[in-house]
């Protein structure tokens, strides 16, 4: 049997977290041709700059979602482990 890990250790990120982290990469990096333009101007900003600024809070949001998924799966695991041992 594998020795039990000490509490507070970080595990490998879940698949859900990995997919959520992929979203900012798609938005900020791989889709440049879609948003590299001035029009439509939003809030006085050229569209590309608006898009990049918009994705600052959205990136944090994605990572927050990824983090809570990871935390959830860890707490479920921890509970199961507790239930198994007498």
């Amino acid at each position: 049997m594998e020795p039990a890990r000490k509490s507070g250790l970080v595990r490998k990120p879940t698949l859900g977290a990995r997919l959520l982290a992929l979203i900012p990469f798609l938005a900020l990096c791989f889709t440049v041709p879609l948003w590299n333009r001035i029009h439509p101007v939003v809030l006085g900003l050229p569209f590309n700059l608006f898009w990049l600024i918009l994705w600052i809070p959205l990136t944090s949001l994605c990572m927050w979602a990824a983090y809570s998924r990871d935390r959830k799966s860890e707490s479920v695991e921890a509970k199961t482990a507790k239930g198994d041992s007498p």
Partner: protein
């Protein structure tokens, strides 16, 4: 009082408070190597956030980002893309590295390579490459500081004097307080910088154009090409943007000083939370870019685009504010420079000198030598900055691309059992050599792609191919007994 005297007095006060904070941070603590380099692994989310933001936001981003906006236009947006994504990427390796760091007492990036691949020589090679790229980075900070202080004091303080005095202060508080000085000074530096950048980025467009929107409509009318890729350049187009953002997102935390900063956290969870909040710091970049764009309309034809933000500030704001900008700007150079020097000194003493020349050296002796190296590294950087040698610029261009060549060894070392020592050696050498040849022969970008990205792909291909061809090895972290 003359404007120059007012600005100078404010600037000296700001820097003075910062330096005192730096010394105070390490007071009444026994500074062994563990305290000096990783602060005893005790920092919570806020201090780690400040430390990492403090190091990531350098004079290069303050002056360089506005300079890029001024002289190149839209390619400057790459900085906004990669800063957020570097935090996203860090979520997948910094917490894991932290765990290994605590279990195996890792303090530097070289320590990771040395232990994972059971090779002191590989660790020494990483240390050597790290130091070669770190010193020019310090040099760049000092050069930026010299410009900031010269402009902010209305020329009262010369560039050379500013650089020498600041470097001496940096060496002194790093020697005394180690990484604690950097973290505590970051509090002042980040708060001031945030205020200054907001005032400049929003104030300048309002003063001259009655708003950010009108400024951009002027730009769209007069310089429409500047606002979309490739801007004023011919070779920094969309494929360059993608490859550069991707490369820098993976490479940012491969800088030895940022890598090592993660060991200061008190848990891996702190680093995960940091990855969630850190992207928000990117909000300062568009403000810096606004200043560069405003300068393009107001003061076109500057010889050095990197001075555009300072020129606009001097034209727009009163002397006392210029003093604050000067002080904040000086700290923006000194805080990252301190961490860069600390990292370079530790790498040299612990991972290069000891294994190669003095295997029997005790840990206190390594700590003494690292502190001694602070003076040496600072001295070399100041000398380069004063001489202003061209080759340094070359090394710096190489730095970002070169440092990312550590990435395959780190990420595969964490997640792929099959990766071997010989493979990491071959991949890293292939990557570093490819980057050096491409960048120094002026072939960056190559075929529309960032040269560092091309080298990274080669590096990955070599590591994977050689790993398959060489017999499997045990993970160094599993063979060595973990310290409890």
């Amino acid at each position: 009082m003359s404007p120059s005297a007012i600005a100078l007095a404010v600037m000296i006060a700001v820097v003075g408070v910062g330096v005192v904070m730096g010394f105070y941070a390490g007071l009444r603590r026994k500074m062994d190597l563990e305290q000096w380099t990783v602060a005893g692994r005790g920092f919570g989310t806020l201090l780690v956030w400040l430390l990492m933001a403090g190091e990531g936001y350098t004079t290069f981003t303050l002056l360089g980002a506005s300079g890029w906006a001024y002289s190149r236009g839209a390619p400057a947006f790459y900085i906004m893309g990669y800063m957020s994504l570097a935090c996203v990427a860090s979520y997948f390796f910094l917490p894991q590295l932290w765990e290994l760091g605590r279990a195996h007492k890792l303090q530097t990036e070289s320590d990771f390579f040395e232990k994972r691949y059971a090779s002191e020589r590989l660790g020494a090679f990483v240390a050597l490459v790290g130091v070669v790229f770190l010193v020019p980075y310090v040099d760049l900070q000092l050069t930026g500081l010299g410009d900031i202080v010269r402009v902010a004091s209305f020329g009262a303080v010369g560039k050379t004097w500013a650089m020498v005095l600041a470097a001496a202060a940096v060496a002194a508080f790093v020697y005394a307080s180690g990484i604690r000085a950097v973290a505590w000074m970051s509090i002042l530096k980040d708060a001031l910088l945030l205020g200054v950048v907001a005032a400049i980025g929003i104030g300048v467009p309002y003063v001259y154009f009655h708003g950010i929107g009108p400024m951009f409509s002027n730009l769209a009318r007069l310089h429409p090409k500047m606002l979309v890729l490739p801007g004023k350049t011919t070779d920094l187009g969309q494929s360059w943007f993608i490859s550069t953002v991707f490369l820098n997102a993976l490479g940012a935390y491969m800088w030895p000083h940022l890598f090592a900063a993660s060991f200061t956290a008190k848990s891996g969870d702190v680093l995960r939370r940091n990855a969630v909040f850190m992207p928000l710091y990117t909000i300062t970049y568009p403000l810096v870019l606004f200043a560069g764009f405003a300068a393009l309309l107001i003061v076109p034809g500057l010889h050095d685009g990197d001075l555009s933000l300072l020129t606009m500030t001097q034209r727009t704001f009163p002397a006392w504010f210029l003093g604050i900008v000067g002080g904040a700007g000086a700290l923006t150079a000194m805080v990252p420079a301190a961490m860069l020097i600390l990292s370079a000194a530790t790498l040299f003493a612990k991972n290069f000198f000891r294994p190669i020349f003095a295997p029997t050296m005790s840990e206190p002796a390594v700590a003494r030598m690292a502190k001694l190296m602070v003076g040496v590294m600072t001295g070399v950087a100041v000398l380069f900055a004063i001489l202003g040698t061209k080759s340094i610029v070359g090394l710096l261009l190489l730095g970002y691309d070169g440092i990312t060549q550590f990435f395959p060894g780190v990420i595969l070392g964490l997640y792929w059992k099959r990766v071997t020592r010989a493979a990491v050696w071959s991949g890293m050498i292939a990557g570093v050599v490819a980057v050096t040849i491409l960048v120094l022969s002026g072939k960056d970008p190559i075929g529309g792609l960032n040269a560092g990205f091309v080298a990274l792909c080669l590096n990955f291909a070599v590591v994977i191919a050689v790993s398959r061809l060489t017999p499997a090895e045990r993970n160094g972290f599993e063979t060595a007994p973990a310290a409890e």
